[in-house]
Amino acid sequence: MVKLYPEKLLSIITNDSMQERLECMFKKYGVSGFTIIQASGEGSSGMASEMSGFDGNILVKVIVPESQLQVLLESVERKLRKGYHLTVFVSDVQVITPEKFNKKSQ
C-alpha cells in the first residue's frame, strides 16, 4: 500500500493577464511549483474566450502544505480587495511525494 500525505490544492481562475502577477506571488512566498492551464468560461465579469491574447482565462493550480496556504490566501485576498477578478477555491488532496511541495520548510 502506497502511503499518501495530505496537502492543500489552491485553484485560481482568472484572466491570463494576471499570470505574471501570480507567478511573482508564488515565487515571493516560496511555492515550489505550480501548473497553469488555458481556460474558458463565463462568470460574474462576463465571458472569457479560450484565446490567449484575446482575453483568455487561465486556471492556476498549486499544491502547498497547510502551513503555507494561509499566507497565499492573504495575498490573494489583497488582490481581490483591489478589484481583481479571481475565482479561488481550496481543496484537500493527497500526494505521494510530500517533499515536492515543502520547499520552504526544507
Partner: protein, 345 residues
C-alpha cells in the same frame, strides 16, 4: 458606390461569414490561438512592407506624423471620457477604461482599410503605418491617469466606510493611487506591448534590409497577405459575434457610444490627416481609421491590470462587439467619403 464595394470586399464578406457562423450556432471552430498567430503574421508583413517604403520617406513628415499620432492618442481618450461621464451610465473608472480603448487603435481595422483602398484603387502614404505603431500605447497612459483621478475623487466622496466589509469594489485608502502596481511598470508594459514590438521591429528590419533580400520576402508579405487577412477577419467575425450577445448588458446609450465615438475619432483623424499632415485622400482615410478604431488586443489586458475595478464586459463589448464590426462594415467607406469631401471642399 464606395460603400457597396466595401461590403463586397472578400475580407469583409469573410468577417460577415464569421458573424453569421456564430449567430446560426454553427459548430465551426478555429484553433484557439489562430487569430493571434494570424495577427502576428499581419503585423509582421505590414511592418516589413511599410519599413521598406519608409526607408525612402521624408524624415520631417515622419516626425510630424509621430507627433500627431501622439496628440491623437492622448486627446481622443479624454474626449471619450468626457462623453461617457456625461451619459451617467458608467462609473468614472469604467469610463477611464473604455476611453483608453478608443484612444488606442485596431490593427485589424487598419488592415481592412488598406484592403478597401487597394480595392477601390486609391493610393496612400506609408506614414499612417508609423502612426499605427505609435498610437497603440499613449491611450493606455491616459486611461491610467484618468483612472487615478477617478479613484481620488471616489475616495474623497466615500470617506465613510462602506458597509458590508469584504465587498470587492471598495478599495482601501492606500490603493487609491494605483492598484495595478508601479506606474513605471505599467508604462513599460504599455510600450513593450507585443504588437508594438512586432510592428516597430519589422519596420526597422524592412528599412535596413537589402532590397534583394526584401524581394525574396515579397511572396510572403505581399502575395498571401489578403488571403491571411480574410482568414483573420473570418475568425474575428466569430469572436466579435460572441460579444454582440452582451449588447443588452451595456444598454443602448453605451452601444450608441460605440458608434458615435468612432465617428468623432474619424472626423478628428480625417482633419489631422488631410488638413494638418497634408496627406492624399488615401493617407488621410487611414489616419481617420486610426482615429476611429478602438483597440481590442493591446488595451484590454492592460486595463484588466491597471483598472481592475472596471467591468471588462463594457469595454470588450464596445470595442470588439460594436465598434470593430461598425468600422469594418460601414465606417471605412464613411471615413473615405468624408476625406473626399474635405479634399473637394
Amino acid at each position: 458606390m464606395s460603400s457597396l464595394s466595401n461590403l463586397l470586399l472578400p475580407a469583409v464578406l469573410f468577417f460577415a461569414l464569421g458573424v453569421i457562423a456564430r449567430l446560426i450556432k454553427s459548430d465551426l471552430r478555429f484553433p484557439p490561438d489562430l487569430a493571434k498567430v494570424l495577427s502576428i503574421y499581419l503585423l509582421m508583413a505590414i511592418g516589413l512592407h511599410g519599413g521598406y517604403e519608409l526607408a525612402k520617406a521624408d524624415l520631417v513628415i515622419a516626425m510630424n506624423s509621430i507627433m500627431w499620432a501622439l496628440i491623437l492618442g492622448f486627446t481622443l481618450p479624454i474626449i471619450g471620457y468626457l462623453a461617457l461621464v456625461m451619459t451617467r451610465k458608467v462609473s468614472p473608472l469604467d469610463a477611464a477604461a473604455i476611453s483608453a480603448h478608443y484612444g488606442s487603435v485596431s490593427a485589424g481595422t487598419f488592415l481592412t482599410a488598406i484592403a478597401y483602398l487597394d480595392n477601390v484603387g486609391v493610393t496612400y502614404e506609408t506614414y499612417p503605418l508609423i502612426m499605427l505603431a505609435v498610437m497603440e500605447s499613449p491611450a493606455i497612459v491616459v486611461g491610467l491617469i484618468l483612472a487615478a483621478k477617478a479613484r481620488h475623487s471616489i475616495a474623497a466622496r466615500e470617506k465613510a466606510p462602506v458597509s458590508g466589509g469584504g465587498a470587492v469594489i471598495s478599495p482601501p485608502d492606500n490603493s487609491a493611487d494605483n492598484p495595478g502596481g508601479k506606474f513605471s511598470e505599467l508604462l513599460r508594459d504599455a510600450f513593450t506591448n507585443g504588437s508594438v514590438v512586432i510592428l516597430i521591429g519589422s519596420m526597422v528590419i524592412g528599412a535596413i534590409s537589402t532590397p534583394s533580400g526584401m524581394q525574396q520576402l515579397f511572396p510572403f508579405i505581399d502575395e498571401i497577405f489578403m488571403g491571411v487577412l480574410c482568414l483573420f477577419l473570418f475568425d474575428m467575425g466569430m469572436v466579435a459575434a460572441r460579444r454582440i450577445g452582451d449588447f443588452r448588458q451595456v444598454g443602448w446609450l453605451l452601444a450608441l457610444f460605440g458608434i458615435v465615438m468612432p465617428l468623432i475619432g474619424g472626423v478628428v483623424g480625417a482633419y489631422v490627416g488631410h488638413a494638418i499632415l497634408g496627406f492624399s485622400v488615401g493617407g488621410a482615410t487611414l489616419v481617420a481609421v486610426l482615429g476611429a478604431s478602438a483597440s481590442y488586443i493591446a488595451v484590454p489586458p492592460a486595463m484588466r491590470l491597471a483598472i481592475p475595478e472596471a467591468n471588462p464586459s463594457f469595454y470588450l463589448t464596445l470595442s470588439l462587439g460594436i465598434t470593430f464590426p461598425f468600422n469594418v462594415i460601414v465606417g471605412i467607406p464613411i471615413y473615405h467619403s468624408l476625406v473626399q469631401a474635405m479634399a473637394a471642399g
